[in-house]
């Protein structure tokens, strides 16, 4: 325990980054040669962990980090080469390091022997590796000289002054140890004209009495050894100084050839680090919230002023516009603080894949793409579990065994691909495999077996594939060790939905499956189009809108099974009557002369037309969760508070597109609302 206790939190925060850095590179290690910059990073990570751990006396952590550091040091300096199997081991050693850090953090002693195996292997690597450099030269101390009186001869060389060491400070330090008398020997001092200002001409003869021991004296001169002539002699206790005392020379420490500094210079631009500060997420969130309120307040002000201001108030209008623009910039700036690249998340997966491929006996290559894509931090955090589950699912169920792959004429090694990109203001994350794909027949039969659909239901291929997201599709009986934890794709879907996102699957039997997650970039704001229908107002996400058309009533065709379609440039577009979907009443609301169809694109890339009465204009809205105090509603993605302070519903395009067509005359009873949601929920993906 010491004054540094207060820095523990910083240390553990830092450890997280360092461990991540270690792991990032560890995942890329291979037998033989490796990227020197990466190895340097790994070495430094372990080194920093060790140094910090030492300060807090986490002895087990220090010991383990020490050995790992030594191994990494040899590898990076080329004195040791990684053999076959070593890269995997280094990664495991990283895990052990992580466990030890976690134990230190929790304050609970790590399991006894946790690190023993890895430690032994590290030590074996060090013993068997390139010849150990000569054991660090121990300072030859003058026997076991105990406390007493010493005579010290000290003659600094020029080099000592060049390192900014001051004889005077050394004398001060000696004086602390005992009673010091010093005599300067100026005999070597040249004439003033010949004097070199930084040469050492003076030497000292000192006597130190009552010093605790020679070791303490040596410590004082620790930094100047080799840069001075230095001798210590014990002063005889008795006055008989007849015998020449054996002068003990504390020669220069055995220094291996010092490398010229220029060689270690690392001027490459490889690892340019941006300066950053650590801010608690909560503070950022408060800021985001405040700016959100500001946006609403600003919109409210604009709303109420727009009625008063006319053409005579050009200046005021300009000022208002300026304010609007700046508010928006402020909001973007604040949101950007929360944005982080997906890299940190993606880079957890190489190890998961590697571990799992070993466990499953399947050779798998993981391809990552789009790691630089930036997403709101909250979303990144919430994505970890679903993505892990999906990748495990791909490897466990998607990819065939090596034998089956070869038999199917595929390369033995399977490929799992994880990619991310921005599209239309959303982020799309895809997890795909080149495995066996979904067999629609099997999926359908299983769904029937589990009572999720009727045996005589007629479903399209997409609808069948979507069945795998239904609660109760994967049963407890087949939860393997790998897919683990007993979660099914329904939980993945629910987690993604909670983030305002959507998960879909596309699959070709024999060729593989692709799971696509479509997520909002941020959970806070949305660009929306305000529409009105039967006196109600709704927000349509602008990112989904393709165009708006005014369909000719004669071109609209009713379908026998209900619903209507219209042609649009050769394509047949299904129309969704919002008035019907939202179960609105036209009582006292005259039908508009011509309705508008807002053409929107679903995540499937399918286009549908939302039939509305009027477009009321674009607006940026602050998204508020409906689920915070209520529950999810079919066809509704969330709520927004508009400029007038009213709550408006944000439409869920895909939810609407998959809602069953209702008979407009039948108002649903209380009871079956929930049921219908459950029943169709599975197909909304």
């Amino acid at each position: 325990m010491n004054d540094f206790e207060q820095f523990k939190q910083t240390f553990f925060d830092e450890c997280e980054e360092l461990l991540q850095q270690f792991e990032d590179v560890a995942g890329t290690l291979q037998a033989g040669a490796n990227d020197p910059a990466g190895l340097d990073d790994m070495f430094r990570s372990v080194h920093s962990i060790k140094a910090g751990a030492g300060a807090f006396k986490f002895d087990r952590l220090v010991k383990f980090a020490h050995e790992l550091e030594n191994v990494m040091d040899r590898v990076r300096s080329g004195r040791m080469e990684l053999a076959e199997g070593d890269p995997e081991f280094i990664m495991q050693a990283g895990d052990v390091l992580q466990d030890l850090v976690a134990a230190a953090r929790s304050g609970v002693e790590a399991t006894a022997g946790l690190e023993d195996e890895a430690l032994a292997r590290l030590q074996a690597m060090l013993a068997g590796g390139a010849a150990q450099p000569a054991a660090p030269a121990q300072m030859e101390s003058a026997g076991e000289a105990g406390s007493g009186d010493f005579r010290i001869h000290f003659r600094p060389h020029r080099a000592m002054y060049e390192t900014a060491n001051e004889p005077q400070l050394l004398f001060h330090a000696l004086a602390v140890l005992g009673e010091l008398t010093a005599k300067a020997d100026l005999s070597k001092l040249p004439e003033l004209a010949k004097m070199q200002p930084d040469e050492g001409y003076v030497s000292w003869q000192m006597e130190l009495r009552g010093a605790p021991g020679l070791a303490e004296i040596e410590e004082v001169f620790e930094f100047v050894e080799g840069d001075c002539d230095l001798t210590f002699e014990p002063l005889a206790a008795a006055p008989d100084v007849a015998e020449e005392p054996a002068a003990v020379e504390a020669g220069p420490v055995d220094t291996p050839e010092a490398k010229p500094a220029a060689k270690t210079e690392n001027s490459g631009p490889a690892a340019v680090q941006s300066t950053s500060i650590r801010v608690e997420l909560e503070r950022v969130d408060q800021l985001v919230d405040m700016v959100g309120e500001l946006v609403i307040a600003q919109a409210m002000a604009l709303d109420s002023l727009s009625e008063l201001v006319d053409i005579r108030h050009v200046k005021q209008l300009q000022a208002l516009e300026d304010l609007t623009m700046r508010t928006r910039q402020l909001q973007e700036g604040v949101m950007a603080v929360r944005m982080q690249p997906l890299k940190a998340l993606f880079q957890r997966f190489p190890r998961i894949v590697r571990d799992l491929s070993r466990k499953l006996g399947k050779s798998v290559r993981l391809e990552l793409d789009g790691e630089a894509t930036e997403v709101d931090k909250t979303i990144i955090e919430e994505l970890s579990d679903p993505l892990t589950h999906m990748i495990r699912n791909c490897m466990d169920h998607g990819l065939e065994t090596p034998e089956d792959r070869l038999a199917a004429g595929k390369p033995e090694q399977g490929v799992v691909r994880l990619s991310a990109e921005h599209r239309n203001g959303r982020i799309l994350i895809r997890v795909s495999d080149d495995g066996r794909g979904l067999n629609p027949e099997k999926v359908f039969n299983k769904a029937v077996e589990n009572g999720l659909v009727d045996a005589d239901a007629e479903l399209s291929k997409e609808e069948i594939e979507a069945l795998i997201f239904m609660p109760g599709f994967s049963t407890a009986a087949e939860i393997s060790d790998v897919s683990g934890r007993g979660v099914g794709m329904d939980v993945v879907r629910r987690n993604i939905q909670k983030l305002g996102g959507r998960v879909t699957v596309e699959s070709t039997e024999g060729e593989g499956s692709t799971f696509t997650l479509a997520l909002p970039l941020t959970l806070a704001v949305l660009d929306g189009m305000l529409v009105s229908v039967a006196g109600e107002r709704y927000v349509v996400p602008l990112s989904a809108i393709v165009e708006t058309v005014c369909p000719d009533a004669s071109a609209i065709r009713a379908l026998p099974e209900g619903g209507t379609v219209m042609p649009l440039r050769g394509e047949t577009i299904r129309l969704i009557d919002l008035c019907q979907s939202m179960n609105l009443s036209r009582l006292g609301q005259p039908e508009p002369l011509r309705k508008l169809a807002v053409i929107v694109e679903t995540e499937f890339g399918r286009r549908v037309g939302l039939v509305v009465d009027e477009l009321l204009g674009q607006q940026q809205v602050v998204i508020k969760s409906l689920e915070a105090n209520y529950r999810r509603i079919e066809g509704v993605a969330g709520t927004a508070i508009l400029g007038d302070g009213r709550v408006r519903l944000i439409l869920d395009i895909d939810g609407l597109a998959t809602m069953p067509v209702r008979n407009p005359d039948a108002r649903p009873q209380d009871g079956d609302t929930a049921n219908s949601e459950e029943a169709t929920g599975g197909l909304s993906a």
């Binding site: 430094r44 390192t163 900014a164 930094f223 500094a261 690892a271 300066t275």
Partner: protein
Amino acid sequence: MSKRVLAVDDSKTMRDMVSFTLKREGFDVVEAEDGVAAIEKSADGAYDLVISDVNMPRMDGITLVGKLRQDPKFRATPILILTTEADQEKKAAGKAAGATGWIVKPFDPDQLIGVVKRVCR
């Protein structure tokens, strides 16, 4: 006027510790997260002491010491390197580059102050 120290380390934990200890002793501490940042900070005036880690990205501590020593402002400035016990080689290299001395990690506040007093007036 209090003495100015430049504390250079890529580990925030270490910077915090050095900074905390020295500030308590009345030093004025300027922090830099690696050699390059230290060189930038060194441009803005003289320091009474520099304490630098060895292993850092962009520019390591040994290189930093060498560069600082070439700067007339730092010619007589004590420079300590932070190193671990095993690093005899580092100590030697540091010294060759012009380091005044070293502080062995891990250190406690007393050890740090003890070493600082040996090199700094």
